[in-house]
Structure formats: structure tokens, C-alpha cells
């Protein structure tokens, strides 16, 4: 069965979630991956969305972070102040699952501006929940497509902290949690070096070679000597993901599905 790079990324991100983990889910790719996990190997995963839905079980993927679908089948729906204070800041989230516009070698992310802050070349949506997800969840996973424009040598703006300048900079900053333990892209998986905390390519997807990944990275990418290859998406994974997208497209109108 063939598959798209987005499907590959989504399935690889989904595989990381373990059953019963508590996951604070960003909209878009993280949400697709978290729900795929729930529909495959992690039926009891707890999905929290910043709109206040705890234990969400959407039948179709939400287009917005606050679709009615999220509330309808949740264990409980609380206010937005409560979700951030009692549930995220309270330290109850195992995994914060984020997307990003740009990332640097220490897994800091930018969702604010490209160019100078006061006179931006491109104005991005801004922080949303990310700065506190990044500093409060026990660990953070980031998923985004890999390209020289998204994997940059230097961010114009750090919206949310990864490992800051690397080494023990994150620990010294007062951030809680282990920080970004994995970055899942359409080309492979990057994990921080245990000492320098620089993102290191530790796995590539089937059919992707290292040079391709280096070319899609805006800095001189470190590659693990134990580089492994991710497992091919199974037929079951692809079938369930495609079903989910088909249901979603039907519910939201055609253009909402896919990616």
C-alpha cells in the first residue's frame, strides 16, 4: 500500500503515544496523530484540548480547537482558565503535542513572526497555548514538515522554549518537564542529544536517505551513528487513518480532510 509523506508523519507520531498517557493536543497534525493512536493501539489515551475538553473522543477530526465534536464525547468540559491552571500548569499532562511554523537545532519553536517583531516580514498567528505547554508538560513532541524554511539555523523569534541554547540551559531556565524529546517530520525522527541537546536525526522513514534530510535542514544536521529506519505504515494504520480523514471530509466539507 502506498502512502503520502503526511500519512507517514502522522502514523509515526501516533505510534509514540502509549495507552493511558495524558496528551495535551495541538490542532492539525498533532490532533490527527493523537486520534489515530486512540483508534489503534491506545484506546484509553486521554486527549486534552486547550478549549477545555478533557478525555475528548471525536469521531471526526476537529477543524478548530473547539469543535462541538470535542465537547460532545468528552469526560468533562471545563473553562479555558481551568484547563491551563489546574490541568496543564498543575502538572497533569504527560505529553504536550505541538505543531510549529519553524524550529531550530535546540527544538525552540517560532509561531510568532518572521522578520523583526515590530516590522514583520510575515506575521504568524502567535503563541496560543504553546509557551506553557512547552514548559509544563512532562515531555513535548513536535511534528512539522521538514524544509530549509521550517528547520532554520536561527529563529527570528522564540515563541516556546525547547532546549534554548542547549546543554543545561533549559534546566537553568526554570522550565519543567523534559522538553522536546522527539520531533517527527515527514522525513524521519529527530531526538535531542543527551548532553548537547542538539536535535539529532535518529531515524529516517522508509525510502528516505540521509542526504535528503540534510538538504531539508537549515543547519548542519547531526546524524546518529545508530540511525534506524522507521517501520512502514501497516495496512491497518493506513486504513484507520484514511477512514478518519474520509469521515472528517464528509462532516466538514471536502476540503477539510487530508491535511
Amino acid at each position: 500500500m502506498s502512502y503520502t509523506p503526511t500519512e507517514l508523519m502522522t502514523i509515526n507520531a501516533a505510534r509514540k503515544l502509549r495507552d493511558r498517557q495524558v496528551c495535551f493536543v495541538g490542532i492539525g497534525l498533532p490532533s490527527a496523530a493523537a486520534n489515530l493512536a486512540r483508534l489503534t493501539h491506545a484506546p484509553e489515551v486521554v486527549l486534552i484540548y486547550e478549549s477545555g475538553t478533557i478525555g475528548a473522543r471525536p469521531d471526526v477530526l476537529p477543524l478548530s480547537i473547539g469543535d462541538g465534536e470535542l465537547a460532545e464525547f468528552a469526560d468533562t468540559v471545563v473553562s479555558v482558565p481551568e484547563i491551563f491552571r489546574y490541568w496543564l500548569q498543575g502538572g497533569r499532562v504527560d505529553v504536550g503535542f505541538l505543531g510549529a511554523a519553524q524550529i531550530d537545532r535546540f527544538a525552540n519553536i517560532n509561531t510568532t513572526v518572521i522578520g523583526p517583531y515590530a516590522t514583520p516580514r510575515t506575521r504568524l498567528p502567535g503563541a496560543g497555548g504553546a509557551p506553557e505547554i512547552a514548559s509544563s508538560a512532562k515531555e513535548v513532541w513536535i511534528t512539522l514538515r521538514q524544509s530549509p524554511r521550517s528547520f532554520v539555523e536561527r529563529l527570528d523569534f522564540i515563541t516556546s522554549a525547547g532546549f534554548l541554547d542547549g546543554g543545561d540551559a533549559r534546566e537553568r531556565s526554570g522550565a519543567r518537564g523534559a522538553g522536546p524529546t522527539a520531533v517527527i517530520t515527514d522525513l524521519g525522527v529527530l531526538t535531542p542529544d543527551p548532553v548537547t541537546r542538539e536535535l539529532t536525526l535518529t531515524a529516517v522513514h522508509p525510502g528516505i536517505d540521509v542526504e535528503q534530510v540534510r538538504a531539508a535542514t537549515g543547519w548542519d544536521l547531526r546524524v546518529s551513528p545508530d540511525l534506524r529506519m522507521t517501520e512502514r505504515p501497516s495496512e491497518q494504520e493506513l486504513a484507520i487513518l484514511r477512514d478518519l480523514h474520509a469521515r472528517t471530509a464528509q462532516a466538514h466539507g471536502a476540503a477539510a480532510g487530508g491535511d
Partner: protein
């Protein structure tokens, strides 16, 4: 106020929202007070400070029509679609006028409303660790815990001049019931000096519809209640109608170009008398498949 608590949206906006006010139209994806946003535009309010966690279509319209001087927010976009072009055009190119921005995170905006509702001058949070936001926003400061010495972020309470929300039900005394994704609506109403609530439905007595622990705003904390069925469109009202995702997508094309935007706003908002006419105008142009009030039936 001189008008009755139950009044039209025109009356409420005329009486309660003034040029130069700091207004907060809230609703986190759900229950966005879109009809009230249109009315602010129809009445040509100017020099507004627009406060909202997620400035999306409702503020894109006000900004594009030149009503705002300043935005206080945490995420500005068209959810699930992309950018909000009038907002970006104002920030990047000062069109139709410059828009000053004050930018926070979601957790912080929620905490600032809570502090406002709580009568506190500031909010404390674990936040902004390693983020560049505090470099550009002097309203984000840091203090030490007097017990542990830990460093915590703090920001001033938000107390808008006017809060505007949309809810499912109110009764004749102005008691309001909100259910589903309740966002920051209780907090923004309690934090604000004045408040307007548009609702899907007026019922005889809210207690027949609310359980003991439901989210209810007693009538005495609300300045005006206006019956505006469908008033959250293209957002949704749980139990009444769904989110109009196709409108969110259509907005991308409408708002990308300045002239197209102005033409659309003039035709559907400025040339209509109220939200019901707006909906008819949209339906006549084929932009919505059904009016929200019809979705309900």
C-alpha cells in the same frame, strides 16, 4: 443603563460601547458573538482596543473597517484555515490604519481575565520560560515567590470596558445559561465594567433549563441581553447549530484583497439593518447553505 435589560442589539451597542473603549468579544471557537461584532461595525465605532484570546473573523472585520487602534491577544488566525488577512495587513502594512498589538499566551490571557474577575491587580503564572514574548511586551514581568524564591511570570489584570459574549439561553430577568465549551466567558463578563450577552433563545425561567452547577450568569451581573438567534455564525451554538466551516474557508478569499473585503462588508454588513438581514443577504448570495436559525428547526 436606561434601556431595559432585555433590548435589541442595536440599543445595547449604542448605549454600552463607546468610541475608544477597550472591548472584549469572547468565545473560544464556540459561541463567538459575531452578530455583535457586525453591529459595532454598523455603528461605526472607532479607536477601539480589541481584546480577545483568538482574534479571528469577528476582529478581522472590525480591524479591516478601521475601527481598532490596538489589539490584545494570544493567537490571531482563521482556525483550521490560515491567516486573518485584514489583521495581518493592519500589522504589516498599517492598512487601513496602524494597529498596535500587545501579545500574550493563552494561559496568560485566561489568567488575566481571572485576575480581572477576581478583583486582583495582577495574575501569577508559570509561564513564558525561555520565550521572547517578555522582551517585546512590558506587561509581562517576573516576580519571586515569597516562600520558595521561584521565579514566576505576572501580568496585569484585564478589565475591559465592555465584555460581549453569545450564549444559548437567557430568561426574562437576564439570567444567562452557557453550556458546552464555555471558554473564558464567565471571567470576561465578571472582569468587565459593562457587558452584552446575545442569546439563541429567551426562556421563561432559566432554572427550568439549568442544573445546579451549570454555568449561569445571574442577570444582575449582565448589562444587556439581546435575542439574536444564529448570532454566533459562522461559529456555532452547541445544541442549536454547527460550525459553518465552509464560511471560514470562504472568508480567506473574501478578506485576502482589500477591495473585495470592502465590497463584501458594505454589501452584507453596512447595507443591512441587523443580523437577520445579514443572514438573508448571505443566503441570497449563496454564501450560506442555510440560515443558522433554520438549522435549529
Amino acid at each position: 443603563m436606561t434601556t431595559h435589560k432585555l433590548c435589541t442589539l442595536q440599543e445595547a451597542v449604542a448605549e454600552l460601547i463607546h468610541d475608544g473603549d477597550a472591548i472584549a468579544l469572547e468565545g473560544f471557537t464556540h459561541l463567538i458573538p459575531s452578530a455583535a461584532g457586525h453591529e459595532v461595525i454598523r455603528q461605526r465605532r472607532r479607536n477601539l482596543t480589541l481584546i480577545r484570546m483568538t482574534p479571528d473573523l469577528v476582529y478581522d472585520m472590525i480591524i479591516g473597517m478601521g475601527g481598532a487602534d490596538r489589539a490584545i491577544f494570544s493567537w490571531g488566525g482563521n482556525p483550521g484555515v490560515g491567516s486573518i488577512h485584514r489583521f495581518r495587513d493592519a500589522i504589516e502594512k498599517s492598512w487601513p490604519r496602524p494597529l498596535a498589538i500587545e501579545e500574550h499566551s493563552h494561559a496568560d490571557m485566561a489568567a488575566r481575565y481571572q485576575a480581572g474577575a477576581s478583583g486582583l491587580p495582577f495574575a501569577v503564572m508559570r509561564g513564558y520560560v525561555g520565550s521572547d514574548l517578555p522582551r517585546y511586551n512590558p506587561n509581562i514581568r517576573f516576580i519571586e515567590c515569597p516562600f520558595t524564591g521561584e521565579r514566576l511570570a505576572c501580568t496585569p489584570a484585564l478589565n475591559p470596558d465592555v465584555a460581549v459574549i453569545h450564549a444559548q439561553k437567557a430568561d426574562r430577568k437576564g439570567n444567562v445559561l452557557i453550556s458546552g465549551i464555555v471558554g473564558v466567558q464567565k471571567e470576561v463578563v465578571l472582569a468587565a465594567r459593562r457587558s452584552i450577552v446575545t442569546v439563541e433563545e429567551i426562556v421563561e425561567d432559566i432554572k427550568d433549563h439549568a442544573q445546579m452547577n451549570s454555568v449561569v450568569l445571574p442577570g444582575w451581573v449582565v448589562s444587556a441581553v439581546c435575542h439574536v438567534p444564529g448570532g454566533a455564525h459562522p461559529s456555532y451554538a452547541h445544541g442549536y447549530y454547527k460550525r459553518d466551516n465552509s464560511f471560514y474557508k470562504a472568508w480567506d478569499a473574501i478578506s485576502r484583497d482589500r477591495d473585495t473585503f470592502l465590497e463584501w462588508m458594505n454589501r452584507h454588513v453596512m447595507a443591512t439593518a441587523d443580523f437577520a438581514e445579514f443572514c438573508q443577504s448571505l443566503a441570497a448570495s449563496g454564501m450560506i447553505r442555510s440560515l443558522p436559525q433554520e438549522v435549529r428547526a
